[in-house]
């Protein structure tokens, strides 16, 4: 008996010895549970229907991106960032490009900044669309999810028109973009912006003032502003607690301070607050894309940085000097300054940071991704303690933890 007790104690350190006198049962939520939307494992200790404690496991789809990145030239790391938060991969791509540009000291023009804002805000809309519709699914309302997914398809069509891929976009290059917006891209963006408000309004009508949904989400998975700040929360999860921290405003990048937009905040950081904050952020994103599209300046779609941006193809085909530079850039034999930079962007679910250390070689000496999902997941046991199992699932989906980002 004593031996068994010690064994259990070693497994669940969060419990005192007196807890085992009670009748607890252990439940494995995951790793492949249909309700967790990804590879997450939680070992829950249940007292009947109530969760007494949880232990989360990470690393089921760890692919060692930070280590792989140490062996790749800078431009080849972009496809790796696609696979972090795959619901909004263009934000990851552009965030990485801006990190490298910060290291190299490349200043981008207004046109590139505005093009980036358009793409990043579209990506934010898709990310929030998925998250909010999945909150609906997990609280038992599948219908809204299906209506919103049609809109997500339209954004993926826009990505396809810009870069040629839908999910793993590999969009943009260091110093700008690989190709300009074609007229059909602009048309598709305008069509999307005209159609979305109606669908979004309809979705809000379905859920936001519905008592079943409100009862199901208010005070579920709440966290105080102090605890959230101590954990290092960012993005919608922090704003839901009432802290108006937004990287786009606090540490403006890519000319975000040219635009005026509201930072929506919640009151006590529960699932309903997170839902409302995301919903309002989508309305703000629509406004931002519209503004950026209207004020899109004329100019080139990439900066004149011959050392880092590939020379025009017609010169590569016919002239010696561009061909040499083309080989140097593709082989990664360009001179990169020594130094370390941290750059963060407001990703779909929080502050996505890139910490890059360069020793002047062809690859990064060290690269760290600050993934917001990883930080939210640390607070998950605290947030679900004392709630019932179905609320734990709702809390997880409302935090928008993406498995690919959590495990990197």
């Amino acid at each position: 008996m004593e031996e068994k007790k010690n064994h259990i104690e070693a497994e669940h350190k969060i419990f005192g010895p007196e807890d085992f006198e009670k009748n607890y049962s252990t439940l494995n939520l995951g790793p492949t549970h249909p309700a967790t939307h990804g590879i997450f494992q939680n070992i829950l200790t249940m007292n009947g229907e109530t969760i007494e404690g949880a232990e989360q496991t990470i690393g089921y789809i760890h692919r060692a991106f930070e280590k792989i990145a140490e062996r790749r030239p800078f431009y080849q790391i972009t496809p790796l960032t696609d696979r972090l938060n795959y619901c909004s991969s263009p934000i990851n791509n552009i965030g990485w490009h801006m990190t490298v540009e910060k290291l190299l000291g490349v200043k981008t023009s207004k046109r590139i900044d505005y093009m980036r804002i358009i793409i990043m805000e579209l990506a934010r809309i898709t990310d929030h669309l998925i998250c909010n519709s999945v909150i609906g699914v997990d609280s038992g309302a599948l219908t809204g999810f299906i209506y919103l997914f049609q809109e997500r398809e339209k954004v993926y069509d826009i990505y396809e028109e810009i870069c040629g891929a839908r999910l793993t976009t590999n969009l943009g290059r260091i110093g700008g973009f690989e190709r300009d917006f074609t007229p059909s891209v602009i048309k598709k963006i305008n069509d999307f912006l005209n159609g979305l408000p109606k669908v979004l309004k309809q979705f809000e009508n379905l859920l936001i003032r519905n008592r079943i949904f409100m009862d199901r989400t208010i005070d579920v998975g709440a966290i105080s502003a102090e605890r959230a700040l101590n954990y290092g929360f960012t993005g919608p999860c922090l704003r839901a607690t009432g802290v108006d921290y937004d990287v786009r405003v606090m540490n403006s990048y890519s000319s975000y301070n040219d635009f005026d937009f509201i930072v929506p905040v919640g009151t006590n950081g529960d699932t309903y607050d997170r839902f409302c904050v995301r919903q309002e952020e989508m309305w703000q994103s629509i406004k931002l894309v519209k503004n950026a599209l209207e004020n899109l300046p004329e100019g080139n779609y990439h900066m004149d940085v011959p050392e880092f941006y590939l020379p025009p193809k017609e010169d590569v085909y016919s002239k010696m000097e561009p061909l040499i530079w083309h080989f140097k850039i593709v082989m990664g034999e360009i001179e990169v300054p020594v130094g370390e930079v941290y750059h963060s962007v407001e990703g779909g679910n929080g502050e996505l940071g890139f910490y890059l250390v360069s020793d002047g070689g062809r690859t990064p000496y060290r690269l760290h991704f600050r993934r917001p999902g990883f930080i939210y997941y640390q607070a998950y046991p605290e947030m679900i303690k004392g709630s019932v199992l179905s609320d734990a699932i709702l809390t997880m989906s409302s935090m928008n933890i993406i498995a690919g980002e959590l495990d990197a």
Partner: protein
């Protein structure tokens, strides 16, 4: 313990968006159910958004990054010179090539004096990022808007030159001009350039 709830405000742009107080009408929750049912019901009469694949196919963008093609020039000679830049730039290490020297009787087959004897792309490794297309200095490899079909055997996903090189027949050549910039298309009209003849 001086203040119950501390507020954290960093900007002047913040706005509280969630309202948790329910009105009487919201509390009785029948109107919300009826409203929801009406929205669902109205969708019965809307245009269907599903596509009846495979009878109907979605329009794929012209610059879609799908199956690769190895181009030939106007006279039907393979453009690839086996420089290896595509294999080097591939983040997934999906491209394998073995170079060989062109013989005197192969002038009509290969454009340059070095050519790729073996050129294989492992379509299970390939992530369709398009970096090989960008790295090619000889206008030889392009991605097309065709999708790699499924198969039962893993071996069949290793595409060799038999599947990658475009047909010799001029009518069956694959048009990739939509993927190129207008400056390149302009340049290709100039037949005095050694790249174009």
């Amino acid at each position: 313990m001086t203040e119950e709830k501390k507020t954290y405000t960093f900007t002047t742009r913040s706005k509280v968006v969630s309202n948790k107080k329910m009105t009487f009408m919201e509390k009785i929750y029948f109107p919300a159910i009826i409203k929801g049912m009406l929205i669902t019901f109205s969708h019965l009469f809307k245009k269907k958004t599903t596509i009846q694949y495979p009878e109907v196919k979605r329009n794929i963008a012209e610059i879609y990054r799908g199956k690769h093609v190895l181009k030939r020039d106007d006279e039907g000679r393979e453009r690839c010179t086996a420089c290896g830049l595509c294999a080097l730039s591939c983040p997934a290490e999906a491209i394998t090539m073995i170079a060989a020297e062109r013989k005197a009787d192969e002038m009509h087959l290969y454009r340059e004096e070095k050519y790729a004897k073996v050129y294989e792309i492992n379509m299970l490794r390939c992530i369709f990022c398009g970096l090989c297309e960008e790295a090619c200095p000889k206008e030889a490899i392009f991605l097309t808007n065709e999708i790699v079909p499924s198969n039962y055997e893993r071996e069949n996903f290793i595409y060799g030159k038999d599947k990658l090189v475009e047909p010799m027949d001029k009518d069956k050549r694959i048009d990739i001009s939509k993927r190129q910039t207008t400056a390149v298309l302009e340049f290709k009209k100039d037949k005095n350039q050694s790249h174009n003849n």
